[in-house]
Symmetry: C2
């Protein structure tokens, strides 16, 4: 056994094959090629590729037809983006090494705890692209709700922070805010950042795209200004304006999060431990020192009871302390959507109406944003205890927030006008009475089926809220869509789920 | 909302695109095509296809290049096999409906029990191909060890039975046997079936392919005779010879099992509840009434302690009773491999040597097969209590088992000669002494890296067993491979794991 050797490495001509496999890189080899036969490669084998100093692990699809010749390896768009082979370069390929950290995932499935070291090696492998989609799904599922203890959540958070870049800001307190999702339309962040920055605070806000909801803050903000900013560009915006609203993934803060979120979205799951690690790793990586968490509670919000909210609040606080942040939660009313629009551009229209002081602006959204901004203003000593909310409302009313918001959008690359959907369809009340319940989850689902967040102007606008009176034939909400197929699909869903609004006569 | 409509359906020309995506069907559409734009389809969207009365749900890959024209949909080999479009047919496509049973999987991830009805709807959707690989992975992980209670295991077993065909046999007792894997080379089934059938018992044996091991009984038997038999063909073999050894999946007994096993194999996990459901659903579907389970116990076998074996034995018994079978377990010695070969053809060579009474035939494998066959002979009243093993050995020695085995192989489609690997490499002992421990798991891993079970002649042959004396430089085992890359890869693994055999000087 004492001999030197290296596993066989083959060298092949790369061909950009023009197939988009989303984020999992796929490569294509001819089944009867020398490399497939001699290496025993078959469909779904994991193989290592390297070219010009860049490396990648990809899943193999075997090609039987004449798409490829013997000497060529086809690369999906995801594989091409990583390897970027120079013209004339050849790609070296070999069997992918065993992903050792998957044995820790298997141990977790069998009920063992994950150590800090195991969590770090899992997240390192995830970020290095060594996990297939099927393996990512197993990791996410194994860490499902209640399956991670507090130490594991803290370990996962640290692992996710360490796997990406981490910002530092000159000496001052850095403020941040996060809303635990599940409440459609609760788009307070752009307002709150404008209010805080207008009051001289530093609030370098990074946001996520939607996981299971019809819009994330990054999706909404993207209809108002560019959000895919580099680290340097983000720093320049914050140095100039005190605040920003950018997509976290674009600045490589907690890159593991973006990989995990893609599979969480496919599964439509979002567990507590992973949610805390996801949120706080982004905050810590952004250099935040003081964070306010908005936890809306309601029967169809993500958090359903005050008891669950208190539990989550505690894990947030403990995990924050474990990674060096002061994390405080505000438990809010999550019984119905906030504002009027649900969907990226529709929410942006609400935000603009508030900032511009339009008479039809949704007052509930302005109130919610002021409550949270007020808590941050008080934390920062900009307002005395109990007076933060009033200062926030004043900052909205006197136009300073609108001025600051425009300046931030300009600094991020230029203000945009949110799009308007070409198709709308009112959904009418079948009877007269009073609105006594709204199912947030089904409403979100309808907005997603209509195309949100991928179709930015799609979603829905609420015409009625809780306790409103409605007459038979009056619209309850209006669907907005970019594609007829999506509108039809949403109507099919609404026909099967007619009781999203409960009307009591 | 009271209007009739159907979701938009598009009709496209199918093109067999010659890409093998294993079992997950993938279809390819041009990104700028009308159907992608109007339906809002993107990479990884799930879409429904139908043609000539056949339907399929597939994952979309978007094509940017000129592989496809606007009016064409590309089909992977897996998609083509299901749809088989006639020349000139057009494929109708639309958004795939929501897979409702995934909400039960999500509830399981969040810690809820799965009801019998939920398990049935999950398994129905799995068999109908409605689950993506990522969703299958989540289901398998959520049902990981200790996560299913006894009722859930029984419910899963019934759901898996109901999702496939179920055989019935005329009036008599139907015997069957299963070994809980993890012990390399423990290939008793072909011997036991020959012994029992030679003694007039009805033993219609369906077997699995390997999940995480270097060979399943179906893989080994396939090197000796065809195993992909139709139901009618299997029935004819059993009616003629009393027994058979066929692949369960080919006769559509518990088809869910074969779909789940593919992802379990990718994850390298095999949990207790799923194992029981997998084993017993196949037995019940095969019409078995009396089943003996071989549970090898050893520090590196699948079951590590007598306590675990007793627990498994109990779940097997209870689940068997819940689905109407008498299931009894035999706990056996699992401290080291049984026989000499590990890998499909190498194990087949051992079996032939025993049946043909060759002097170098592995006695331990003959003994183990006789012990289990003896238990069945006693259950069937063919031997008095305590005399079954002797009758089994006699049936081997007098050539009746060999005669019966050849007749079964002929009935299954013709006896084959197991292949011999072109490449071998002896692994030598670094020192002299006595073998005091063998790591079954690492030995299995080495056999798998050498190519087993996909390369049928690959694997390894043991030259030494527990308690044997060995001199420095003598071979401990010999690697067999079909491809140089796989041999190199195995040697790389052995270099990193030099202590598979513990030698005490």
């Amino acid at each position: 056994m004492n001999r030197n050797y290296s596993a066989t490495v083959h060298s092949l001509k790369p061909l950009r094959i023009g197939i988009d496999t989303h984020q999992e890189p796929v490569v294509y080899l001819r089944s009867e090629s020398h490399v497939c036969r001699s290496e025993g490669l078959e469909a779904l084998s994991r193989i290592s590729l390297s070219v010009d100093g860049r490396t990648l692990i990809a899943t193999l699809n075997v090609v039987h037809d004449h798409l490829l010749d013997e000497d060529t390896i086809g690369l999906s768009e995801a594989a091409w983006r990583v390897l970027q082979p120079a013209p004339g370069s050849r790609v070296r390929i070999s069997h992918a090494p065993t992903v050792e950290s998957m044995s820790a995932v298997r141990a977790k499935i069998y009920g063992h705890r994950l150590s800090e070291a195991q969590l770090h090696s899992i997240i390192r492998d995830v970020v290095a692209g060594r996990y297939s989609d099927v393996e990512l799904s197993a990791f996410i599922t194994a860490c499902g709700t209640e399956n991670l203890d507090n130490d594991e959540v803290a370990g996962l958070t640290r692992a996710m922070i360490d796997a990406g870049e981490r910002l530092s800001w000159p000496g001052t307190a850095i403020y941040d805010k996060h809303c635990v999702g599940g409440l459609p339309g609760n788009r307070t962040t752009p307002l709150l950042v404008a209010i805080c920055a207008a009051n001289g605070m530093t609030i370098p806000k990074t946001s996520s795209r939607a996981i299971t909801s019809p819009a994330g803050t990054a999706d909404t903000m993207e209809t108002l200004a560019p959000v895919n900013l580099s680290l340097d560009a983000m720093r320049a915006v914050v140095e100039r304006e005190g605040g920003c609203v950018v997509w976290g993934g674009a600045v490589h803060l907690s890159p593991a999060d973006d990989i995990l979120i893609r599979v969480e979205r496919a599964l439509d799951i979002d567990s507590e431990g992973q949610m805390v690690a996801s949120v706080l790793s982004k905050k810590a990586a952004a250099g935040s020192t003081h964070v306010v968490i908005d936890i809306p509670v309601g029967p169809t919000a993500k958090v359903r009871t005050r008891h669950d909210a208190t539990h989550l609040s505690e894990i947030m606080h403990l995990t924050g302390r474990a990674v060096g942040m002061d994390v405080r939660s505000v438990i809010t009313d999550g019984r119905q959507p906030v504002g009027r629009g649900i969907g990226p551009a529709l929410e942006a229209h609400d935000i603009l109406a508030i900032l511009q002081g339009k008479p039809d602006a949704p007052a509930d959204l302005a109130d919610r944003a002021s409550e949270l901004a007020g808590a941050l203003l008080e934390l920062a000593g900009r307002a005395a205890a109990g007076e933060g909310r009033q200062l926030a409302l004043t900052t909205l009313r006197n136009g300073k927030a609108w001025q600051k918001f425009q300046a931030i959008c300009t600094a991020q690359g230029g203000m945009r006008t949110p799009p308007v959907a070409p198709l709308t369809h009112p959904v009418l009340s079948p009877r007269s009475g009073r609105v006594i319940d709204i199912d947030n989850r089904k409403l979100s689902r309808a907005a997603k089926l209509a195309g949100a967040p991928i179709a930015p102007s799609a979603g829905l606008t609420l015409e009625k809220h809780l306790d409103d009176s409605v007459k038979a034939g009056e619209p309850l909400f209006v669907l907005h869509a970019e594609a007829p197929g999506e509108l039809e699909y949403t109507l099919e869903y609404l026909e099967a789920n007619p009781h999203i609004f409960q009307i009591e006569s």
